[in-house]
Symmetry: C2
Subunit: 355 residues, 2 copies
């Protein structure tokens, strides 16, 4: 059934019922002119992020479930990047009239799974038709006892990341070759320590398809799957445990070099990072060889890893990966032979042609 | 100059500088992963609204200034509809790469003028390219000492509106005949009681143009201008003064009948309204004759008036226009001869074909 046969009000009603959740702090939820929340007695955090068809996603390469999941992850990641906790979500969704109701249901499945993962509640939004491409955005409200900005890095601080870099960009490169959406098991999406959910979608191994197997010859599904997952179903990284000692923090959405440059600009400092310290997954190394792309290129300039990048004073026992240190000025990469080269921010910028 | 020649970061930087505003309650404004606000010790209001090209607006009929102004007005209106005060704004803007920088500047002129009018501060947002149509959305955070919902109407309450209805829909009909954007004087946009701003844009009288003069023969610019203004530069109506006694409230965005129906559904009551009490402007009456559209059709089912619709118990001296009363059940319109007819919600619904 198409949305045009259902109508906006019926659809809104369904969404409202599906996402209805009681909370003592929500006085008015979805359905009025505005949501009403009880005062939040800690610092409020607010962030918003958009995903536009043909720019942030390609419906020939992603399932609606993945799209919904990612929309929430990227917004949650921004709240975590302030060492905050996400609470309330607003959604703006513009889709074509002739969109299948099933598509919207799957989109909301993904949204809901990601929301549950991070304990957020839907409090409002807007639904619209669009004549052309889809456009999605989410606004997330959260709080922080002690927020961490981009601007607090000090000379001498260590620079850390919370996980492997480049996987997401590598996943995208693989997808471009697979040339169709790859549904992934939902079972692997879980909170650290939480029970695995029951399987619902079976992972579809694209290797079984002759053209993909040809294209990705030599790569196993065990190598490909985690890379695709990092791109299609990124999990926002809760950075609470670093809040005690981190002096500055940013999430890596546009690529390590560009996001580190932002952190440096805001903190008015420089940085030196060590190539050999950049964490690369074994899957990335295998796949990058196959794709004939230097894995470091993906790790340094590929975006959407949603790992945290933060700084902390020396002397702390930091449970993250040390990649370099904050210096007075300049931005340098040190290669395996110890040679230092300056770097500039190279990452994704809207409106500009990519190099 | 095109946006593609400027780049996202430079543009963001310009916006950040232009909208920088100090406030003791903003700990971190635009430019970090999320904004950080001091706790708000009153009930928080949050709303979001989208405007999509080809659905909510047509760039062949609106100037970018008007578009920006309206984006803010529709969101502010939702906060006012809860009897709240708007405070903080987040913007999501997706435009084509080849958009002229001048277009964006004018868009932000409109956004800024409307923001100043309602004392709101920009605290964040997202900027993206789009392959197809423009998509804009805003999220607005405000507060209310005593908020008013849609659901509080009681049997016996009077039903009130705050101003003339149908003007905006009539303005749109005129615009469709004028077939091009009509810049309007900015000087008329002002707070009640505030000084008029200096003129900047001169109002362009479309009557001077031969084809328009032909099409709109018999209508003067004095008739046309206020109707166009209501559609192109709607001013959100601060409903604070009704908060003392209003039992329920909604802003009229989709048309009187549909919005009254919403209020009735939420309050689980019925309504009876009187045709003769529906306030129509003299300009609407003149123009509607010319357009050969019944003015009441525009007033009852035309959207985007952004007047407030509210209910109040009898016995209050309400400084608004009485249009009917809340009854136990059913929805009726009483015509001039006293005949009562049931009505159903007829207004704009996305995804559905219009009647």
């Amino acid at each position: 059934m198409k949305l045009s046969q259902i109508g906006e009000l019926t659809l809104l009603d369904q969404i409202r019922k599906r996402f209805k959740k009681k909370s003592n702090n929500i006085i008015v939820g979805i359905g009025d002119d505005a949501a009403v929340l009880k005062p939040i007695y800690k610092n409020l955090l607010v962030t918003t992020d958009m995903m536009v068809e043909g720019v942030h996603f390609d419906l020939s390469l992603t399932t609606p479930y993945q799209l919904g999941f990612k929309l929430i992850s990227v917004n949650v990641s921004d709240i975590y990047a302030m060492a905050g906790k996400p609470l309330y979500l607003l959604l703006n969704i513009a889709v074509k009239k002739n969109t299948e109701k099933k598509f919207i249901d799957k989109l909301f499945d993904g949204i809901k799974d990601a929301m549950n993962l991070h304990d957020t509640i839907l409090i409002g939004g807007d639904l619209s038709a669009t004549k052309s491409g889809m456009a999605l955005s989410a606004t997330l409200i959260g709080y922080a006892k002690r927020h961490i900005q981009r601007s607090g890095a000090n000379v001498g601080d260590g620079i850390y990341v919370t996980g492997n870099l480049g996987d997401s960009a590598c996943g995208l490169e693989l997808l471009k070759r697979i040339k169709r959406p790859v549904p992934l098991e939902r079972s692997k999406i879980r909170k650290h320590g939480a029970k695995r959910k029951e399987l619902r979608d079976k992972s579809k191994d694209p290797m079984r398809h002759a053209p993909c197997a040809m294209l990705l010859k030599g790569l196993s599904w065990n190598t490909v799957e985690p890379l695709l997952r990092r791109h299609l179903l990124p999990e926002a990284r809760d950075a609470k445990k670093f809040a005690r000692y981190a002096t500055s923090m940013i999430d890596i959405s546009d690529g390590l070099l560009i996001d580190l440059s932002r952190l440096c600009s805001e903190s008015r400092v420089g940085a030196r990072i060590y190539i050999d310290n950049i964490p690369l997954s074994p899957e990335l190394k295998k796949a990058a060889v196959h794709l004939d792309i230097p894995p470091l290129k993906l790790a340094l300039s590929g975006g959407e890893d949603y790992e945290m990048l933060f700084t902390a004073p020396a002397g702390n026992k930091v449970r993250a990966i040390y990649i370099g240190e904050i210096i007075k000025s300049g931005r340098f990469i040190v290669d395996s032979s110890g040679r230092e080269k300056p770097f500039s921010a190279k990452g994704y910028q809207h409106f500009c042609k990519r190099e």
